[in-house]
Symmetry: C2
Subunit: 352 residues, 2 copies
């Protein structure tokens, strides 16, 4: 197959980890006889520096002509004091909205070789294998009015039935390919938007009689993610709750540096990025872990290109390299010499 | 001193645990020569059953004539399908709003005798000693418009400078009596209300040069509560973020059944209640742990009545009884016979 991939390295460790992911994709292309064209663009702080805006038109045009987007990370202290329009995160929000990437998919799965790094007791996280499906283009993030005077400020949490319906369906479709359980998270005892959310979930479920459904209040979900994370399969929730719960979930297995994410719409186009941030303090030192970026590339192969075998090859290679005991600085045990980002990436590429 | 205390047992295990707390307060009154008058009222499902509303006028009148309110818990499956106006939780929201109880204070402190029950590794929770100060009468919980049609729903996150200022000051005042650190949690990279929040924190801090201040995004705070909870002293945040983070924080030390809370305003009047819910499945069986209700009573003595010594006497008695190895069913190790709610409460009362 021929695919064009927009590559947006972004800031901090973004370029390093994306560089590694691209190398692995090149190996995949050779091994499976595909042709991947990589086109580079600017986003985030790097784009603010060169274009004065975190999402330049050039970048949008480049993504529009591509089959999928691979993104590194954005942000850093250099731009932290900027007004909101020229902050790196604005580039992320804008690209999600522009391309209608309404479904943010974040798998969290226990990795046996890394489990000792979990802040939770190991017996609680051993069997963790969950996916958070977060609505990404609605709710408080984009509702109007959103404004501020000297004396007061307002944001608006708005959802339409159509917006809820499509994200809930994505979650049910995903659950069907997994353990067939959906946990819908809301705050229906307080919010009207959550009552509509729950209503839509109840409607959609009638079309999925094989799926077990449970409603959970967001405060209670925040507890259960710690006390019994293995009980979850697919969690579906609105934008802000999803932001909080997916970050909470990302640390429970101790493998934050290994977590990929996808932001997609229904036609297969999507943006793939590691869950971790731009970590400006370690950028350029060979300390970054490119695993999450590579696993994001694997998600892209599977979800946007339908390349199941190719995706699995990357995942297996990473697992093998961890089982051999090779890792980057972030995961090194005391006394063990870690590999640099490049060395580790080369080892994975070999394995692929 | 003479004090009148409104006692609202509520639903489920509420009556049992509040009964135990009242007994301990009676012992305190004898030992320290106070006179406490207890006046009972209805709230939650119990009030819906008897008065058709979760917060009857009678209850409001009774609280208005009292110096503080001691509440059990509300809710249960019996009322879960009720329309929002006759749901038990509505009673809670209404009493907070009616009495202007804008500051919800929730201490979370590691209890050595209970620590083995923590879902987190013990070295992470050993030194946990934090307090969440949650804004309780503003934000998404009460903002207008809040409505729902067939096709869409909206809620409104609104904060005034005055509302933010008073809760932030409460947090700074509290930090001054503790380790002098305030973590303000917001989502200033997305929400206008959070930008105003951050602005006010920056202003207020100039009056507290002795206090260390840190701003944290809510998603990042949800992670740090798990990866490094001992780093927090006082956390201050808006209503919805506070709901989620305080429930998350409540499970990290393994002692959810021991956590008290206070909902107060500036004149000393306050409502005190255990953090745990009404647990209808174990109600009436002598299985409930009355420690959180007793510790809520201790908070009431300290915060509303200025009775430091009396509060400490309850806290010490509970600690002693745990160190003796006595506990209720919720905390019993396999093979150890637990005490009933009443037996355990009697032991604490003796110790006081
Ligand atoms: C950077 C920020 C705006 C963003 C969000 O809140 O969505 C980030 O936290 C994320 O989860 O991708
Ligand atoms: C019952 C519910 C409305 C309430 C809230 O969300 O405030 C509860 O979760 C709490 O934290 O006291």
């Amino acid at each position: 197959m021929e695919k064009r991939i927009a590559v947006l390295p972004g800031d901090g460790i973004g370029p390093e980890v994306i560089g590694s992911a691209v190398k692995v994709l090149e190996v995949i292309a050779r091994r499976f006889h595909h042709s991947f064209e990589f086109v580079q663009g600017y986003i985030g702080g790097a784009a603010v520096d060169s274009f004065g805006t975190p999402l330049p038109d050039e970048t949008i045009a480049l993504c529009e002509k591509s089959d999928a987007v691979l993104l590194g990370a954005v942000g850093g202290p250099k731009w932290d004091q900027n007004p909101s329009e020229t902050r790196p995160e604005k580039g992320l929000l804008a690209i999600r909205k522009h391309f209608g990437l309404f479904a943010n998919i974040r798998p969290v799965k226990a990795v046996p070789a890394i489990l000792h790094r979990s802040p939770l007791k190991e017996d609680l996280v051993n069997d963790v294998d969950l996916v958070i499906v977060r609505e990404l283009t609605g709710g408080l993030y984009f509702g109007e009015p959103s404004r501020k005077t000297h004396d007061a400020a307002v944001d608006t949490l708005v959802y339409t039935r159509v917006e809820i319906d499509r994200i809930v369906r994505s979650a049910f479709d995903l659950a069907r390919m997994r353990r067939k359980k959906v946990t819908s998270v809301d705050k229906a005892n307080v919010l009207q938007s959550s009552r509509l959310w729950r209503e839509v979930v109840e409607e959609v479920r009638t079309g999925y009689p094989d799926i077990e459904v449970e409603h959970q209040l967001v405060d209670s979900a925040a507890m259960k993610l710690i006390t019994n994370p293995a009980a979850f399969d697919v969690i579906v929730t609105e934008n802000m709750f999803g932001d909080i719960l997916s970050d909470e979930a990302s640390v429970i297995t101790g493998s934050l540096g290994l977590l990929p994410s996808a932001s997609v719409r229904t036609d297969g186009f999507g943006l793939y990025e590691p869950v971790h941030g731009s970590a400006p303090d370690v950028a350029g030192k060979g300390l970054a872990n490119p695993a999450a970026a590579m696993l994001s590339a694997a998600m892209m192969l599977r979800q946007s290109f339908g390349m199941e075998e190719e995706a699995a090859a990357i995942e297996l290679a990473i697992q093998t390299v961890y089982e051999e005991g090779h890792c980057t600085a972030d995961l090194a045990s005391p006394g063990v010499r870690p590999m640099t980002t490049e060395q580790w990436a080369a080892r994975v590429a070999e394995e692929v």
